[in-house]
Symmetry: D2
Subunit: 279 residues, 4 copies
């Protein structure tokens, strides 16, 4: 049976759950998974996954939802569950890339990896094993603006639903970020907000921390400040040099990126102010 996902967000109002579940009840739909949350400043978020025993007319059901919520101030997204197209951006490090391609190749992600873009060609041989297009767009001799234009041109050929920065070590301009608003996921190699910016493992070593981590987040126009989707950590001790922290940190990075990506692919992540709500 086809499954559907309905996402609602907006100003809270009494009866939102009642009105939405009423539409589903009258249309003989089964709720598979539902979760909702109201923020302290009274915004309502709800994700409802359901299936129907009958064929659903998408437009008429959408109209029913809209009518049921017409007296409220909420927005809704409604679609059949399906795989999303993803472009990966990488630089030289392989660990996140390899994790993503392996899972994609064994059908473990609700995604199609449609292309890999890099500013170096180092990872091309590995990507070729998986028969995925690899585009090297070198930044050598280009202004940031020109390089980003070239990268965007490649990416836009694939019209991806999501862009995953799988250790893409370039700072993005506001123009680039705006071009893919709420569609860029980054993995940062620290437990944000600790160690923003370059060389977080070097910073962590200098500070003598006993735990290091990684953060998957949406990219916005402030460096390493976008809404956090997932984080995890691992313990280190005084024997870990910065290079050792980097080595074990990569294991955390790739697992956190996968965790965050899966949540986004399942339409479970909502953004409220600079925080994520995960339903």
């Amino acid at each position: 049976m086809q499954k559907y996902v309905l996402c609602i967000e907006g100003k809270d109002a009494r009866g939102l759950i009642y009105h939405v579940t009423g539409v589903l009840y009258r249309n003989r739909c089964n709720i598979i998974d539902q979760d909702e949350y109201v923020t302290p400043d009274d915004y309502f978020y709800m994700r409802t996954e359901f299936e129907s025993t009958r064929k659903i007319d998408h437009e008429s059901l959408l109209t029913e939802f809209r009518n049921a919520l017409s007296h409220t101030d909420v927005k809704l997204r409604f679609s059949a569950k399906k795989k999303k197209d993803v472009v990966l951006c990488v630089t030289k490090e392989h660990h996140c890339l390899a994790e993503l391609l392996t899972r994609f190749s064994f059908n473990e992600l609700e995604a199609n990896v449609v292309a890999v873009v890099s500013n170096y060609d180092i990872l091309e041989p590995f990507v070729q094993k998986f028969n995925i297009p690899f585009h090297t767009v070198s930044h050598e001799g280009l202004t940031r603006e020109k390089h980003e234009e070239a990268v965007m041109e490649v990416i836009d050929m694939y019209k991806p639903d999501l862009l995953v920065l799988a250790k893409y070590m370039r700072i993005l301009s506001p123009e680039f970020v705006d071009h893919y608003q709420h569609k860029i996921i980054n993995i940062h190699h620290s437990f944000l907000p600790a160690f923003i910016g370059a060389n977080p493992y070097r910073q962590a070593y200098e500070r003598g921390v006993k735990i290091i981590g990684a953060t998957a987040h949406f990219v916005n126009n402030e460096l390493d400040q976008g809404p956090i989707i997932a984080q995890d950590v691992t313990f280190v001790d005084h024997k870990f040099l910065a290079s050792d922290m980097s080595r074990v940190g990569k294991d955390v990075e790739k697992m956190v990126l996968i965790k965050g990506l899966k949540l986004v692919l399942a339409d479970r992540v909502f953004i409220h102010d600079n925080r994520t709500i995960i339903l």
Copy 2:
């Protein structure tokens, strides 16, 4: 504003959420926290916490809920949120007891600790610091049956909502367990189902595990087999003797017991077959 908790469980049916939220909508109640789950074998569980801007007539609201669900096969519990009365049973170890009494004395639990019962008097001086009645019911010279009768007599004076076995090192008879059905929480000093029975840290040491844990569970009539509420673990290495495992394990035990107890006190724990559903 007074808060209320409504718990529903039973055979799944289309529209359960819709019917319940309809009652709340018509009575101008605000849902604060709602969660629901349907098991693979189609049992529906829902916990709804709500408040009302108006004074609620408990009986009439209960009737409305019953009417709204009359065509279904579900049971409901409905009550105002309030503190539960708890009796603690201990033997000689203090760590869980101290954690519970400290939190109770600083008002961190939705519970009143009304009495402590023990088969030894070792912990009496500590309990007296907190001005809580302490009852020593020695098992010396008594059959299990007679001892349990004496313990039950003491406990029943307090008519507790819950019995917490905070390292009570006696195996309970089916009669005792039945007397307090679904009301007894135990902390077991292992990551169940590993190391059932006596001396789990000794067993863990012999097996050479690298992780030890603790389990808060409801007590039923099979030793260490009741529904699990909460678990946690901590890492050990080859330097840990059984006594070291016991020492660090106690930290896990007390925190897991608190975690499990808080969930039960908040009416968040449902039992399905031998598993808990936590909403």
Copy 3:
């Protein structure tokens, strides 16, 4: 049998372990626990715990160690294992205090809690349960300087080996810190270096992190910048308001403080630059 701890630190040189273990071998001492570490910039740290089958003459053994290491540039500390005297400083929050007093009262720490000092009297009734002197030194109407002088006067009556800031919410002056150099342990309610300064849980909420933590560290003259001894974390989600983060964070705080304190009490913590080496 009496146990001894020998701590060595200084410029690395070939044969340090050999020379030290030679003294122990010739004096028929049994090494119980030994660990050593050399930093990337060639400083050597070693902790050796040993016992002797014969009565040890402390001075003559110390002389032997010194002679064996006379050609090197290392310092050594050598003493019989014994409990340390600890003064606790608190303000209004009880969770770390209660954890410390409970463990002390049940003899779980290698420490004597000789006094509690606070700038409020709120926690006095609780401390009295444990028959430990409680000193209220209010900061009301006093300059920071005068208040600290009064606090130091109280503390110095007890000549403590260690000062534990168990949620003491006052920023300390360089004079105070210097007065107790390397003897002050603080628990900070965040995963440092994230959220330095005031209201870390509020900061964590605003940033939307998915993990919160706590840090036990030595106090130096930069706020929240001293050498980190121990850290731990716990997971949170979007449902956690700042107050909820504070509540669960306290559980992490008290356990991390105990962990860090135990390491210091066992003479396992060395300071190199701004990092700790834990042997």
Copy 4:
């Protein structure tokens, strides 16, 4: 500079560290990493990693070590650090295999993966991406004895230092295990000793645990009873069906296998009774 590893184990005796470090001191070797442990029943284990500024004559240094320890009852292993040859055994699941091959192909392991052996050909296309020999040895129509003989014949062509069962779903006979004594590492998909045997995730689901895990262990002649090298866990809740537990459990499995394997490759794992000591 070439690095060396010296491993010593045997009956404890006074001066063992002293005698060994004396040899290194006289031969102008630098200790890079040393750790030692004495069991409660007085067995001594030590791992010393060192380098020399001069060319080392392996045989003469070995003789010196033997002479220095001749009055004791310990065994020693001494070798230059080098990559070990590893054969992987798999069945149908790819997650551990992919993790191992990715790391091997990017030179992250101190190992050469010299071949993959399977009782199915399902994973052959994936292994071919990495240009590693893949041998299908079907068990169809063969007795266990005949099948194992065929498998051993293939494995023995490669004379591996280690055999890694990366989800090889066949129970091994004592003959097979003895043939590769202390050389077989297995990943078990549960937190042993919980859920020994088949379908551990099904067992975990039935028992309603809140944590699942994985265990890397040496294989001996009792099913899932060999010495444990590494374990880790992950949290689950009531929403996880057995299939969901299996899915997230695989992430734990592959990371635990890597962790355990790295320890073995670095000669850090000693076996004492049925426990491992990790130095």
